[in-house]
């Protein structure tokens, strides 16, 4: 699988001056303006001026190549950079993701904003401080060692009358300081970053600066971009996946008021009109003849898991073997086996895909909410065979889609249509189109097998996963997005995803871990192509692995929490105990907050209509550890599951903004709860049939837990170490929650659910089969 690191650029750097940057400065004007003349060479990450501008009034603007998908990363970037600079947070602003003025940090993805990209930001800010202190030393006639800096004001220690502001030192001028580093991530000056003990703004919780404009209606979103002469486009999708375009009857839409043009390329079809509602009307009305594919594109969703189990894998990873699992199973006192199933789940953005492209001045500007604007820029340039310098992407706020815009179909479509029409074109997908045709989180089947010895110790574990992840998109490559597939500009082989393996630190002496990718019959132009959905494989894999740990605990007649701690406390050789120590601390923190006391699992079944239970699950992602405990109420008459309380403990190292992080954890946890309870892509053998919010239900206000307790943990064995790291925080909580809910349902009912989602009908059927429906 390609990673975004493959896209680090290698040529064509050019310094962007202060004047050019000022066009996109929130202190001086809007990001969205009429297209500049271009061309748009890459900002040079090795120039300090590309990252930081300081003005005469002693305010600063930071230019970073990330995007904020609603988690407050922009606020965090300001905090870490202001802290390194010794400037007040309030005197800073942040510009993100405009490819012509912000260095290429890849945009967003992989929860790496702070873990990876935060460090070059800190280093360049520290370097700016070092340079400013040298300037101040010359101006004040005192050695740097005798200078004190606070809130952007440098003074001579012990003589406050000798002072000068950053604005007075460099305001409105360039630093002209060259940085070093083989790539953007490695960007560095010579100044060290601050130690944990020196940080002041990091760890505070300034309110997110983006929120006021989101609640007073003043924010201009990517959906709001409008320029003179702009046209509106809507797509016409094949009615059957894999259908071939035979003919278009353009006369069927010529009478639509405002009609401009029908554009097609291969099996890609769009209509373009003067007004938005006209384009919608034309797309509904147009007569297009399609030929169905000779063979069914995929099995129906009812038949999916049988198909996946029987299919010959497209790829199989080599099994990872620890110890001797076969002999350990042969001598085990008890063997437990279980199969788990997770369907395709959609990104299903609250606002469908959209972008506007403006081809004025023989350049191309794309206004987009793409989380990876640099990938979009490169991809569009290749797709349209344009020089990169003629293309820029201006990132703007948009509906959150948790990975959807990493395969930014609408951005490519708008660019294509704008060049075809020679006018600015705004394209937006319709709801049914988005829900049916967005990228999907891959479906999984997981077979688990565990062996316990006579004392109930877990001595052998077998994990074998199959993922329907045969055409995986996620980096805006020009030959992967849907319009490229439909227009037959596709690569020889699709990029296959991979079936991930469990992320835990359990010491199990004998293990075998195997992963396969299976394909569906239709490889290209399929609404079941996959993408990075908020930890691409973690929720599926962890549902299986952490449910199964509880099945083993039940078989061993052990408390699930104690069973886990025992597996973690045992000695392992990897990771020096670091991640294991943090795993133990995080689980214990969750247990303490919850008030967990050991008891039989499952508990004896209660009387009454509502059965209650608790469940725990734990995981990590990269270096971030999460433990979640869910309290559920199961209605044995209706099958409805309500998760009443969730405790979520997370150790992501150094926390930049505790309040903002808490909101991220709450939202991510509930997103996972939505996937646990409701979400499933359905399809027949021709098309996706879950196409709107009625057929693809998600979590609602009524499902919301009564209480969510977030516990931020620092489980580092040396919690005050000066170089305490900030790890990624966005996605880990999505991984373990589904298992925590399943484990709680088992505790409440004694019934084990091994198939996601836990919709009322499925729960009720399972309860009926187990004779649990009557009190």
């Amino acid at each position: 699988m390609t990673t975004r690191r493959d896209f680090i650029k290698s040529s064509g750097y050019l310094v962007v001056g202060v004047a050019a940057i000022a066009n996109a400065d929130p202190f001086t004007g809007l990001v969205v303006e009429a297209q500049g003349a271009g061309p748009y060479p890459d900002p040079d990450f090795r120039q300090l001026d590309s990252w930081i501008v300081i003005r005469e009034d002693n305010t600063a603007t930071f230019y970073v190549g990330k995007t904020d998908l609603g988690q407050g990363t922009g606020t965090a970037f300001r905090q870490i950079m202001a802290d390194e600079l010794d400037m007040p947070y309030a005197g800073t602003s942040c510009v993100m993701g405009n490819t012509d003025v912000t260095v290429d940090q890849g945009g967003s993805g992989g929860s790496d904003a702070l873990q990876t990209d935060g460090y070059p930001m800190r280093r360049v800010a520290a370097e700016a401080r070092r340079v400013l202190l040298e300037m101040a030393s010359a101006r004040l006639g005192a050695p740097v060692a005798q200078l004190t800096v606070a809130d952007g004001v440098v003074s001579v220690t012990g003589d406050a009358s000798r002072r000068i502001t950053y604005g007075e030192l460099v305001g409105g001028r360039k630093f002209n300081v060259t940085l070093r580093g083989a790539n953007t991530d490695a960007t560095s000056g010579t100044a060290p970053i601050k130690t944990l003990q020196q940080l002041k703004i990091v760890g505070q919780s300034p309110q997110r600066y983006d929120i006021p404009a989101k609640v007073d209606g003043s924010l201009k979103w990517a959906v709001d971009v409008k320029v003179p002469g702009m046209l509106h486009a809507r797509n016409v999708k094949p009615p059957v996946a894999g259908a071939t375009l035979v003919s278009i009857d353009e006369s069927s839409v010529r009478s639509v008021p405002g009609f401009v043009k029908v554009v097609s390329r291969g099996n890609y079809v769009a209509v373009v009109c003067e007004r938005e509602e006209q384009a919608i009307q034309a797309a509904r009305q147009i007569k297009v003849n399609w030929q169905k594919p000779a063979t069914a594109p995929f099995p129906s969703s009812e038949d999916l898991f049988r198909y996946m189990r029987q299919a010959t894998p497209a790829t199989s990873g080599n099994p990872v073997i620890v110890g001797n699992p076969d002999s350990a199973f042969a001598s085990a006192a008890k063997i437990v086996e279980a199969d788990y199933e997770v369907p395709f789940q959609g990104h299903v953005s609250i606002g469908p895909a959209h972008a506007m492209a403006d081809p004025s001045n023989d350049q191309l500007t794309i206004y987009s909410n793409d989380m990876k604007p640099y990938g979009l820029r490169n991809g569009v340039a290749q797709f349209l065979k344009m020089p990169r310098d003629k293309v820029r992407v201006l990132w703007m706020e948009g509906p959150q889609a948790y990975g959807r815009t990493a395969a930014d179909d609408a951005g490519f479509e708008a660019a294509f249509l704008a060049t075809e029409l020679g006018r600015p074109v705004r394209v937006q997908w319709m709801r049914q189109e988005e829900t049916a045709w967005d990228t999907k989180g891959p479906a999984f089947t997981v077979k688990m097998r565990g062996g316990l010895d006579a004392q109930g110790n877990l001595v052998a574990l077998d994990f074998e996963a199959r993922a329907a992840d045969h055409n995986h998109l996620g980096y805006n490559e020009f030959d992967t997005v849907l319009i490229a597939q439909l227009a037959n500009m596709r690569r020889a082989q699709p990029a296959r995803g991979g079936a991930a393996t469990p992320s835990e630190m359990y010491a199990i002496p004998n293990r075998r871990t195997t992963q396969h990718v299976v394909g569906l019959p239709l490889l290209w132009e399929t609404p079941l192509r996959t993408g990075n959905l908020r930890d691409p494989n973690g929720p599926q894999v962890t549902f299986a692995s952490e449910s199964f740990i509880d099945e083993l605990a039940a078989a061993a007649k052990a408390d699930p929490l104690e069973f886990r701690l025992k597996l973690l406390t045992a000695s392992t050789t990897d990771d020096g105990g670091f991640k294991r120590a943090r795993s133990i601390a995080t689980i214990k923190a969750a247990a303490e907050k919850y008030g967990w006391k050991p008891r039989p699992y499952p508990q004896p079944r209660a009387n009454g209509e509502i059965l209650t239970g608790r469940g725990i699950a734990y995981t990590f992602r990269s270096q971030t550890v999460v433990a979640q405990i869910a309290d559920v109420e199961v209605n044995r008459r209706t099958g409805r599951v309500w998760v009443k309380r969730i405790v979520c403990a997370q150790d992501c190292g150094l926390v930049v903004n505790p309040e903002a992080l808490t909101r991220v954890i709450e939202g991510g946890t509930l997103h996972a709860l939505s996937r646990a309870l409701h979400e499933e892509v359905t399809f027949d053998t021709e098309k996706v049939t879950s196409v709107d919010w009625a057929t693809y239900p998600t979590l609602t206000h009524a499902d919301t837990p009564e209480t969510i307790d977030v516990v931020l943990v620092n489980g580092d064995p040396n919690p005050n170490r000066p170089d305490l790291q900030h790890y990624g925080a966005g996605e880990t909580v999505c991984k373990s929650l589904i298992a925590a809910v399943a484990n709680a349902i088992y505790d409440a009912t004694g019934v084990r659910l091994r198939r996601v989602p836990f919709r009322n009908a499925r729960v009720l059927a399972a309860l009926k089969a187990a004779g649990v429906t009557s009190a």
Partner: protein, 166 residues
Amino acid sequence: MANFTLRVNGRTHTVDVDPATPLLYVLRNDLDLHGPRFGCGLGQCGACTVLIKGEAVRSCIRPISGVAGAEITTLEGLATNGRLHPLQQAWIDEQVPQCGFCQNGQILTAKALLDRTPNPSDAQIRQGMNSTLCRCMTYYRIQAAIKRAATVMATARLGSDSEVIA
């Protein structure tokens, strides 16, 4: 095409559009308002919500011909004299939004709810807000913000009552 006169946020506008045009496109594309947004076009999600005569209305399925002359309020019109509505302030105090795309509908649906039920129970909030969807799943904070705003508004009413009595 036909002329329609709209009252939006206290201002009068005349537009020349097809009578079947959903109100949403007129608000966004002709009146340059960014509060109401397209989410589904089916009246299912609430992202396009506006207030008409105090009721939360889904503008994506309301033809322009049916709302001519009605008093329409969008998110931009909720503040008075530059002062945010208590719900908007509560949204900031609770730091509710993640991406924020749905919050127009959440805030305006909550406004209609509190106008009807000034001191709602948890169950009434869940019921009243239930068909307004958020994909970032900020429901927990939305509900907290509604309770916070209800308290603030109740206190303000008490204050104004005592002034009348005095």
